[in-house]
């Protein structure tokens, strides 16, 4: 148990906001040690230096989702981040703290999360089990492996960081956003849920509006992969009855690229798609769709690239 402590004096530059004054930057100097979390640093500023500073924090252990903010530009939970670590990483004892992007400012580091909550409510975030189960007439057993799979997506703490970082949310008002998709998938995939069709209506169209940029995964403090939830949701596309144009285009797009890859290892007509999503992202996507058997493919004539057999191997999932 080697608990070596260190101390350091840091300057926290906080971007403040009030409705009357707008934005301004304010600096606070304080001593921190090896174990000081940003929430604790803020608490000390508030009780020792400047009681007017406003921020949210509750659990200080990364489970309540209150303390999302930008620390040196990175979307983080303040409680899950140690001050000294950031100073070391950036080689400077001057650290900036700003409110999360995207949401409307309320005061200092506090932003308005109503938009985020609306997104979460839209996916009907609750289990609708069979009537007999609710009445206690039947028992539902859940396989340990199903529990583990669902729990991966159920751990969202509604912190809103992923939405603040998601480019699609900003551009596309029809897109539900990463957290809502993680939540939606957690119930969609639950074998005990009974409103699958309604869930598909809510989720499928939106799932085709993600750009697979992986920002949500990068920032999620709970290591949830909303983008994986979105991929897995897309795989349900074939089950939806009323397909929106977005779903149809999405499906067709994937199919075309997939086919082209199988045939030639190249993608000709989908330059736009590629530019947007990157080759690796697309391949991962198609491998998934292929494995789940949701994609039909037709042959398109193209001259194969040299190592086409390798590519086909990847596409058939042999690389696992």
């Amino acid at each position: 148990m080697s608990l070596q402590n260190e101390e350091m004096e840091v300057v926290l530059k906080i971007k403040r906001y009030s409705q009357d004054k707008g934005y301004w930057w304010q600096e606070y100097k304080l001593k921190v040690d090896r174990f000081t979390q940003f929430t604790e640093a803020l608490r000390r500023i508030k009780s020792e230096q400047d009681p007017t500073l406003a921020y949210r924090a509750s659990c200080h252990m990364a489970v309540c989702g209150s303390c999302g903010m930008k620390i040196n530009g990175e979307p983080r939970l303040a409680c899950k981040t140690l001050v000294i670590d950031v100073a070391k990483k950036y080689g400077s004892n001057i650290i900036t703290i700003e409110p999360m992007d995207y949401y409307k400012p309320v005061k200092d580091l506090i932003v308005d999360l109503d938009d985020f909550y609306q997104r979460m409510y839209k996916v009907k975030p609750r289990l609708y089990p069979h009537k007999d189960v609710i009445e206690g007439k039947a028992e539902q057993r859940l396989k340990p492996e199903d529990q583990r799979e669902l729990w991966k997506f159920a751990q969202c703490i509604w912190c809103g960081l992923c939405v603040s970082a998601c480019p699609s949310v900003k551009m596309d008002p029809e897109f539900l956003g990463p957290a809502a998709h993680a939540k939606g998938y957690r119930f969609l995939a639950d074998p005990r849920d009974t409103i699958t069709e309604e869930r598909l209506k809510i989720l499928i169209d939106s799932s085709w509006r993600c750009t697979y940029c992986y920002m949500c995964y990068n920032v999620c403090p709970r290591d949830i992969e909303p983008v994986t939830a979105i991929k897995k949701t897309r795989a349900y596309s074939k089950l939806t009855k009323d397909k929106t144009p977005v779903i149809l285009t999405g499906e067709k797009h994937s199919e075309a690229i997939f086919n082209s890859l199988v045939e030639t290892g190249k993608i000709e007509e989908a330059k736009v798609y590629l530019n947007t999503y990157g080759l690796l992202g697309s391949i991962r996507d198609f491998i998934y769709l292929f494995q789940t058997g949701k994609i039909k493919y037709a042959l398109v004539k193209e001259k194969p690239v040299e190592n086409i057999s390798e590519i086909r191997k990847i596409l058939s999932g042999d690389n696992k």
Partner: protein, 566 residues
Amino acid sequence: MEKVSYDAVVVGAGLAGLMAAHEIASAGYNVAVISKVFPTRSHSAAAEGGIAAYIDGNSDPNDNPEYMAYDTIKGGDYLVDQDAAELLAYKSGEIVMLLERWGTLFNRQPDGRVAVRYFGGQTYPRTRFVGDKTGMALLHTVYEKTSGLGNVDFYFEWFTWELVRDDSRVRGVIAFDMRNMLPVFFKAKAVVMASGGMGMLYRHSTNSYINTGDGYAMALRAKVAIKDPEFVQFHPTALYPSDILISEAARGEGAILRNAKGERFMARYAPKKLDLAPRDIVSRAILTEVKEGRGFPGGYVGLDLTHLGEDYIKERLALAYEAAKSFAGIDATKEMIPVRPAQHYYMGGIDVDITGRNPDLIGLFAAGEAACVSVHGANRLGSNSLLETLVFGRETGRSVVEFLKNYTEPSSDIDNEAEKMANSAYDIVKSESGVHFGEILEKLRDVMWDYVGVFRDENGLKTALSEIIKLREDMKKMYVLDKSKVYNTEFYNALELKNMLDLALVIAHSALNRKESRGAHYRLDYPERDDQNWLKHTIAYLRGNTVEITYKPVKITKWKPEARVY
């Protein structure tokens, strides 16, 4: 001042409040749930290790609810009301299965049934869990479920300031919309206090920052008693130095406490139960080791998980592993985790019976950590609190429904009174100069830790009392620098501090008054339990700077007090 009317107002959106609200709303009544924070940010989210439950057909074959009640009573050092412990035990399986049906993803056995683990003070293992984020999993489930009902309005980021009453009954609460600081009078036929605990009174606490004991203080100011205020629980294994909880699940899964010499020191203090002895015993053991020079420099001991294996630790104790890594730079698969005791839970609370009703004030109910049903007595067993929030949250909801069925309209008008109460919030922070909440707060937390902590004695408690009274004087000179009306957190922190001081006075006074050691209340000058004189509940009222104490007998059904050895 704006006014709104509801059948029932629930203060608090943790597990207890949401469960009560669900029950009342399901019966068709209109409910307002008021919370300082968005519901899933309530402190319940932080609960880690699990929820105790005897489930028929899915428990140790030798176990039964009687043993569970007995463990709870013995753990609580016989200050437990035994009817409450029995209700808790007998309803435990049902409530856990209800939450399972609502979608909580409990860890499973290979055959698909809900899994179990050991917790301190249990004769047989009966703690159900979701990794070590059980509280978060339960809270999200209940919130998601309750927010789907039509007749519950959520007022989150609203600060409840006072309980409004007339001569005999509840008339509602005053709460501020934190976004614009406007007070609203929530008229209600019934009020459920489910406002959680008070960890911020102590320098070291595992609790959320928002746990400032508001509900207890509102009750005290409304002339309602707090039962057993002297019983504050300290958890033995808070991470050094950030006080983040390392769940008791760690010891349940086999972790061992060791001093700086590497000794398994619990063998000296609880030879049979060892590391799984109840919290008060382990807390005192750790501090004794430290005091006698066998701790690590800085004042902590080691919690050794290393023999459990990396995979097991990462699946079943993920949060403990993660906390040690993120907050102390320790790899728990290879090194011991540095731990020491910190304030953790409040056994005292608003006096209620097993239906959640308060005897002082008609229409007042309380549930969860804010209440003292007295199911935990002098010391709570791990994983019994989550269970209490749900079982008694639901029982309380049911009695509110019964109460509402027989409700008659009061004739008197209370609006002026309410107006005055709303203004009193500004009174305490009216000065143009003086002290800030931080100065008083930091002193209070040290006083409570130093003199009203794990070990207590007459001199220390007297010092604490005079210090607290001084701080209450200083409070009158408090002022608020932030003059804005938008999300003025400074203003709310000041109100919280006022609440903390009201409660602190009652705790210190009751601790001085109880001249024996029982459960978490340990008096160095009276180290023995004294059933002859003290097998009774403290009932404390606050009048200005004085605390008035009366007593209530402990309800005993089957189990005669016996020596508490582990």
